[in-house]
Structures are given as structure tokens and as C-alpha cells.
């Protein structure tokens, strides 16, 4: 795409790939994103969800010289959870609630801004946030807090099309970054606290026409609907509120689903409540459900399984496998075979007190005293989870999965719950455990067995994701505003910077003018670093 005079096609001097200088972001480029690491073409960097970059200008020997290059101040006072996209020196960053700005990544100054008027009465459980955009061709796509999907012209920021995904008054919203697959834009919905019916949608990128919709709650006549007592499926949620991963060879989209509703009271929804708290493997062309795996059947602790799953091809117990791995909110790290959904391993990565064990079929054996009650049940982890939507990272160099973990328990209360359209539908409450300080850590888990290789303790449970790089680094952030770099092999602290704002976002890295930059949202700003 042509994007102003400053775009000089300078990058191929370093990376001799014709595609890197091409005018269009194509599906093929996103599919081979690891070959142009100077760009960050999709939410997790590539389709595998690894949030790993091949860039190594910044490495363990020089990261101590990392300094702020520029900051971009956002103009609305909402929590920042955004993760930018960078294409040939142009950064597309979403700003809450549902705005988009195109920035010159060299200078930090804007090319254009898209500002959306948000109607009164939008529902958002946890802040009017937005986690990022997607790009394809000369279009930028953003999901909005009023549950629309919008296509913007990448040159101007003008709206090309704007479609209603669902009715926000019923509790739907969109906070996740879309995922482009082939010629489609895939988008999930938030609303798990409002008793919505979750689904995943695919829209034609050119026209905005909906190509398919896959509900995350089984429809009438499907035997899986019997996993909900009575009509309880009708407000069962299973929201699809984060961005998934994609395997182009298998042509499967892997998308996590959220909690069943009401969150803390399962009395009226006896059964496993499919497909809440699941990983779904969906055919990208037909929307057919190839397989599903449920982490927490009949969840009463709000342990959504929405976080980004990580795809890795690696030997497992001596046999080469196409794996999908994910540290889940329920406190267990899981390894599955992504071609067929076969359960391979579950290993706790934080303190957990709700399950005796996960049996050989991958089903948890739940402790009776872990069920929320009127008097309160003390359980680890907390409803905010052992980890949450913030991304893990995986480095092929170390074969370690890096995850920002939350060591905290909670007292879970059950309350009566009545569904009313568009109203909170929680059936309970929770509070932290008195006298205990919740803690956090970055943990490096061994891919094959989930055992901890090292940890870097954090004062507070984090809401910031991880980024790993070929420079042997892992980047992360803290609730108190530190952005830091660890040695990916040992967990040793190599660099830190106090940004002055709470960090609740995922880092990205890319290269502009021959300099590697690392970007993280903090407070009300985007802060970008490079070597001095």
C-alpha cells in the first residue's frame, strides 16, 4: 500500500524479500510472517500465537541500552489493552473504546485517526477496551465496543464498510482484535457476564458480508445441547472474546471460549455446558467444528479459556506431533494434539485447590469443597485466573513457553441469578483472601511436560503479556508500570524501565529505518523503545 512519502521501501536492504516491499498485505504474507520480522502483521505476530520475533538487533548483550524512542498519548481515559500492527513503518494502533490511529513508527506522529461515536448503553464487564486491529490488502479492521465490525481504508482511515455483528443492548461487545484468514475477517464477541450466546463470525474482507457464523453453544437438535439443563443454554454465554490462532496447513482456526453464565451459580445449568471454557477447532472455509476440548466442564469459577492458544510442531514423548499448548485460567498447562484434539498433558503451573487431578481423558476431578456457596468457598486460583487474556510467548530457540502468571486465591460466593436481557448475570461474587498478598511471576514452562524451568517473581499479579525474541530476550510488564527484559534462557533481569502507568497489554517488536523497536501500551500511552 502507498502510505505517504516517508515509506521508501528501505527495509529490503536488510531483509531481501520482495514481499516485504509489496503494496499489499496478503494472506500469503501473514501466513509467512516469520519471514518478514521487521513487520508485525497480525495480533500475535504470526498465525501460531507464539508472539515470538526473529529480530535480534536487541539482544542479551545490548538490551541494557534500550531507551524510549517516542511516546504516543491517547486521548480517552480508558484502560489500554492494545497490541499494535506494523506494516512497513506504519503502525496501526487501536485506542479505547474503538478508535484507530495510523502512526509513523519512525517519529510516533499520526498519519490519520479514526474516531467512532459510541452510543449510550454499551455493556462491558471490564472496561471499554480494545486489543487491536487486523490488516489485509489496503484495509484495516477493528471490532467495536458496540459490537460492530468496521473496515477502514489503510491510506485515509475512512470507513469502507461497517456491519452490525450483534445487538449491544443484549450485552454483546467486541474487545478482541480480528483475525484475517484468507479473504475473511474472523471476529469473536464479548458478553460472557451478560448471558449472551457466543459465536464466531467470518466476514468477507472486501464487502463485509457475513460468510459464516459458528455458535459456541450447540443449537436445537444437537445432542451437545443436552449438556445444559432445560433451557439454560439460551443465556449460556461461552463468549469468544479473544483472538484465536490458525494452522494454514490443517486450515483450522483455534479459538477459545469463555465462561458459562451465570458465572458462579451452576444450579440451573446442570451438565458440562458445552462449548463453554473450550478450545474449538473450526474449519476456516466451512465453519465445521472439527474437534473441541473443554478445560473446565460446568465451570462455576469464571475460568474462561479465551486466551491465545500456541501452535508448535514438536516431538511429544518421542513422536513428532502438531501440538497446541495453553496455560489455562484454571491453573493447568495443557498440551493437546491440534490435528484431532487428543488430550496429551495437564500440569499445574500455579497453586490450585479445585481439582484432585486431571484424569487420563483430560477431565478434571473436582473437589466438593471448591464449589461456590452462600457462605463462601476458598479456592485457588481466583476468578481472574492463573493467567488471563494477556498473551504467553513461545521461543523455538529455548523451547520454553513464557507466561505471566497470577498467584492468587479467592473466596467464591454463590447468589441467586435471574436472567434479564442485557443485564449482568453473574450469580455470585468473590473477594480476595484476607491477609494474603496476591503475587505474580513470569514463568518459563518446558513445552513437553509443563515443568517450570525458571521464574521471575513479580510483586503483583500481572495483566501484561509476553514477547520473546531471537535476541534471547523475553519482555513483560508489571501492574506498577515497569516494562522489563529477561534472559530467555535463565530468567535473569537484564533491563527495566518505569513507564509510570499500569501495563495491561501485550508487547510487540518490529524494525523501522534499520532500528528494532519494542512497543508497549502503558497508562494512557504507547511507549516505544530502541537502542540508544
Amino acid at each position: 500500500m502507498r502510505l505517504g512519502r516517508s515509506f521508501q521501501c528501505a527495509v529490503p536492504a536488510l531483509f531481501a524479500f520482495a514481499a516485504a516491499c509489496s503494496a499489499q498485505v496478503t494472506f500469503e504474507r501473514i501466513r509467512a510472517a516469520e519471514k518478514e520480522p521487521h513487520n508485525w502483521l497480525t495480533y500475535s505476530g504470526d498465525y501460531s500465537g507464539r508472539r515470538h520475533s526473529a529480530l535480534k538487533q536487541i539482544d542479551v548483550t545490548n538490551v541494557a541500552k534500550l531507551r524510549p524512542a517516542w511516546m504516543f498519548q491517547m486521548d480517552l481515559n480508558h484502560k489500554l489493552e492494545t497490541s499494535p500492527i506494523v506494516v512497513n513503518g506504519v503502525m496501526y494502533v487501536s485506542e479505547p473504546p474503538s478508535n484507530v490511529t495510523a502512526l509513523d513508527a519512525r517519529t510516533g506522529q499520526p498519519y490519520w485517526r479514526y474516531r467512532r461515536n459510541i452510543p449510550q448503553g454499551v455493556r462491558a464487564c471490564c472496561g471499554q477496551v480494545n486489543r487491536g486491529v487486523a490488516v489485509l490488502g489496503d484495509r484495516v479492521f477493528v471490532g467495536t465496543i458496540d459490537a460492530h465490525l468496521v473496515s477502514l481504508d489503510a491510506h485515509t482511515g475512512r470507513v469502507r464498510w461497517d456491519v452490525t455483528v450483534e445487538n449491544f443492548l443484549a450485552g454483546y461487545s467486541i474487545t478482541a482484535a480480528p483475525l484475517v484468514v484468507k479473504d475473511k475477517v474472523i471476529i469473536g464477541v464479548s458478553g460472557g457476564e451478560f448471558g449472551v450466546i457466543g459465536f464466531l463470525d467470518a466476514y468477507d474482507a472486501a464487502t463485509g458480508r457475513r460468510v459464516w457464523r459458528r455458535y459456541s453453544i450447540p443449537g436445537n437438535g444437537m445432542p451437545e445441547q443436552k449438556t445444559w439443563a432445560g433451557e439454560s443454554w439460551g443465556q449460556g454465554s461461552a463468549a469468544t472474546w479473544m483472538t484465536g490462532s490458525y494452522d494454514p496447513v490443517l486450515n483450522l482456526i483455534y479459538w477459545g471460549t469463555g465462561n458459562p453464565a451465570p458465572n458462579s451459580n451452576g444450579d440451573d445449568r446442570a451438565g458440562d455446558n458445552l462449548y463453554s471454557d473450550c478450545l474449538l477447532a473450526i474449519d476456516a472455509d466451512t465453519s465445521g467444528l472439527r474437534w473441541h476440548y473443554q478445560f473446565t466442564p460446568h465451570d462455576v469459577w469464571s475460568w474462561d479459556a479465551a486466551q491465545v492458544p500456541v501452535l508448535v510442531d514438536a516431538p511429544f514423548r518421542g513422536k513428532p506431533r502438531k501440538l497446541i499448548v495453553t496455560p489455562n485460567r484454571n491453573g493447568f498447562y495443557y498440551v493437546l494434539d491440534r490435528s484431532n484434539g487428543e488430550f496429551l498433558l495437564a500440569e499445574p503451573f500455579v497453586k490450585q485447590t479445585w481439582a484432585e487431578r486431571i484424569d487420563e481423558k483430560g477431565r478434571p476431578v473436582v473437589k466438593a469443597d471448591a464449589i461456590p456457596s452462600a457462605a463462601g468457598a476458598k479456592v485457588y486460583p481466583s476468578p481472574e485466573g492463573a493467567t488471563n487474556w494477556h498473551s504467553p510467548a513461545f521461543s523455538p530457540a529455548t523451547n520454553l513457553l513464557y507466561t505471566a502468571v497470577r498467584e492468587a486465591g479467592a473466596v467464591f460466593y454463590k447468589l441467586p441469578a435471574t436472567y434479564r436481557l442485557g443485564m449482568l448475570f453473574s450469580g455470585g461474587s468473590w473477594h480476595p483472601i484476607q491477609g494474603e498478598e496476591a503475587r505474580g511471576a513470569v514463568r518459563a514452562l518446558q513445552l513437553e511436560d509443563g515443568k517450570m524451568k525458571w521464574e521471575f517473581p513479580l510483586h503483583s499479579p500481572p495483566w501484561a503479556g509476553m514477547l520473546s525474541t531471537a535476541g534471547g530476550l523475553v519482555f513483560g510488564g508489571t501492574d506498577e508500570g515497569h516494562f522489563f527484559a529477561l534472559d530467555a534462557a535463565s530468567g535473569k533481569l537484564l533491563w527495566r524501565f518505569l513507564s509510570g502507568g499500569r501495563i495491561t497489554a501485550n508487547p510487540v517488536t518490529y524494525m523501522v529505518d534499520g532500528k528494532q523497536q519494542v512497543a508497549i501500551a502503558s497508562g494512557q500511552s504507547l511507549v516505544v523503545f530502541s537502542l540508544e
Binding site: Q120, A374, Y413, M423, E437, S460, H482, R496
Partner: protein, 258 residues
């Protein structure tokens, strides 16, 4: 999300009158307007800070005929729903209208249950306050020490049972995040104080004399945390039972924050 407190008040007003009649009703059903239903909501949302029966723990007691900030039911709804800015009282936007009504009904029912007047002589208690050195750590009406909480208007927030317990066992009512720490620098200097803020890499504290200290953790030889310890000594044995009652009675007279 919009919420009309006045509308809820209109619904609630006639029902408040029949609080006593509701007391004997069956266990709560969704939407049932009963003190029992309110007690369930209170347990889940409020008891952590206000105590299981509203007697107060880290948050103020609610067992008063007239609540300091919630003199009217409308104010009570507003406080529960929106919280109180600048304090630890959070908003409760997650409560349904029915739950809000229930919990407000329960809070109002607490006033009838507790006798806010305790034993003891407030005039003697005034002398005990000064003789025992309470003012070295606590501020009252603008003068006194900085280490402990400000006691101006304490009689509006606390009840006699709470004050007695706090004097006998001070460590049992520490606010969330309150921590006594002892930092030892690499050159052997030890500083004890209250933690003011902390992150992964550094910590800040205030000593008993009010001095402010900040440290990089990597510069410390030792950092000890005493999570259940209050800087206030127990007065059990130091003061007689009668003196503790007198002190409590005196503090209960402090009902105006000047």
C-alpha cells in the same frame, strides 16, 4: 448502564416499613425482598470489610440508627451502587436492582440489632487517652501522631465492641495492604516502618518518626515483612478492663470530624 436510584427508592420505601414482618420469611429466592436475601448479598459483597454482621472490620461499622453518609435511603442506594470516591468503598455496578434493594434492607435492619452505647465513663476515658499516649500515634481533631489512623469522628464509624477488640488485639483489624516492614541496607542500617508502596524492584516506607524512606530492593541485605503485626501494642494488661471500657466510651463520643 443507567440506573435510577430514585426509582428504586420509590419501590423500596413501602417495604422498608415492613422490615420486621420480613424477618421470619423463608430462604431467599431470586428477587425475593427479604432481610435473609439481603444477608446473602451482604455476605458475598460487603462482609469482607464491614464484618459478617456489619460490626465493622477494615471498613466502618454499619450498626447505627443513622449512618454518617447514608442518612436517607436514596443516599444509601447511591453509596452502595456508585461507591465513595477517595475511600476504599467500591462501586457495585454488578448488583441487580433486586439485590440492591435486598442489601439496603439488610443494612437498615442492622441498626436495630446493636446497642451502640457501651459501658465506661467517657470523661475518665479522655484522661486514659492522654495518659496511655494514644495521641503519640493517632491524630484527633488535627493534633497528634501520624503512625496510626486518624481518630477524628471515630464514634461515627465504630462500635464499642470493635474498639475494645482493637485495643486488646490490634493486629486483627489491619486494613488491606497494611504491612510493617523492616529493611536492612547492605551497610547494616535497619529501618522499620509502614509500607507506603512497593513494586517488583523497589519499596517505600514511613518510619515511626514520620521519615520517608525509599529503597531499591537490590540494595537491601534483608527485607522482613510482618503481615499480621500492628505497630500498636495490645493494651490488655497495660490498662485495666475498666480503663479500656472508659477509653472506648470516650472514643464513642467523638462523633464529629472537625
Amino acid at each position: 448502564m443507567t440506573f435510577r436510584t430514585s426509582h428504586v427508592f420509590a419501590l423500596l420505601a413501602p417495604i422498608l416499613i415492613s422490615v420486621q414482618a420480613s424477618l421470619a420469611q423463608a430462604p431467599a429466592k431470586p428477587g425475593a425482598l427479604s432481610v435473609e436475601a439481603g444477608a446473602q448479598v451482604f455476605t458475598a459483597h460487603c462482609a469482607r470489610c464491614h464484618g459478617a454482621k456489619g460490626e465493622g472490620t477494615t471498613g466502618p461499622a454499619l450498626t447505627f440508627p443513622k449512618l454518617q453518609r447514608a442518612g436517607t435511603d436514596d443516599l444509601l442506594f447511591r453509596i452502595i451502587y456508585f461507591g465513595i470516591g477517595g475511600t476504599e468503598m467500591p462501586s457495585h455496578f454488578g448488583l441487580t436492582e433486586a439485590e440492591l434493594k435486598q442489601v439496603a434492607l439488610y443494612v437498615r435492619s442492622l441498626a436495630a440489632k446493636t446497642e451502640p452505647v457501651g459501658p465506661g465513663n467517657p470523661f475518665s476515658g479522655d484522661r486514659v487517652y492522654r495518659a496511655a499516649g494514644c495521641n503519640k500515634c493517632h491524630t484527633m481533631d488535627g493534633s497528634g501522631g501520624l503512625m496510626g489512623p486518624d481518630l477524628s469522628g471515630v464514634g461515627l464509624r465504630r462500635n464499642p465492641a470493635f474498639l475494645r477488640a482493637a485495643l486488646v488485639e490490634p493486629g486483627s483489624f489491619l486494613p488491606d495492604g497494611f504491612l510493617l516492614v523492616r529493611a536492612v541496607t547492605k551497610d547494616g542500617k535497619a529501618i522499620a516502618g509502614i509500607r507506603l508502596s512497593e513494586d517488583t524492584f523497589s519499596i517505600r516506607l514511613r518510619s515511626a518518626s514520620g521519615d520517608l524512606y525509599g529503597f531499591w530492593k537490590e540494595d537491601l541485605k534483608d527485607l522482613q515483612r510482618e503481615p499480621t503485626k500492628s505497630p500498636m501494642p495490645s493494651y490488655k494488661g497495660t490498662l485495666t478492663d475498666a480503663q479500656i471500657d472508659d477509653l472506648g466510651a470516650y472514643l464513642m463520643t467523638r462523633k464529629e470530624a472537625k
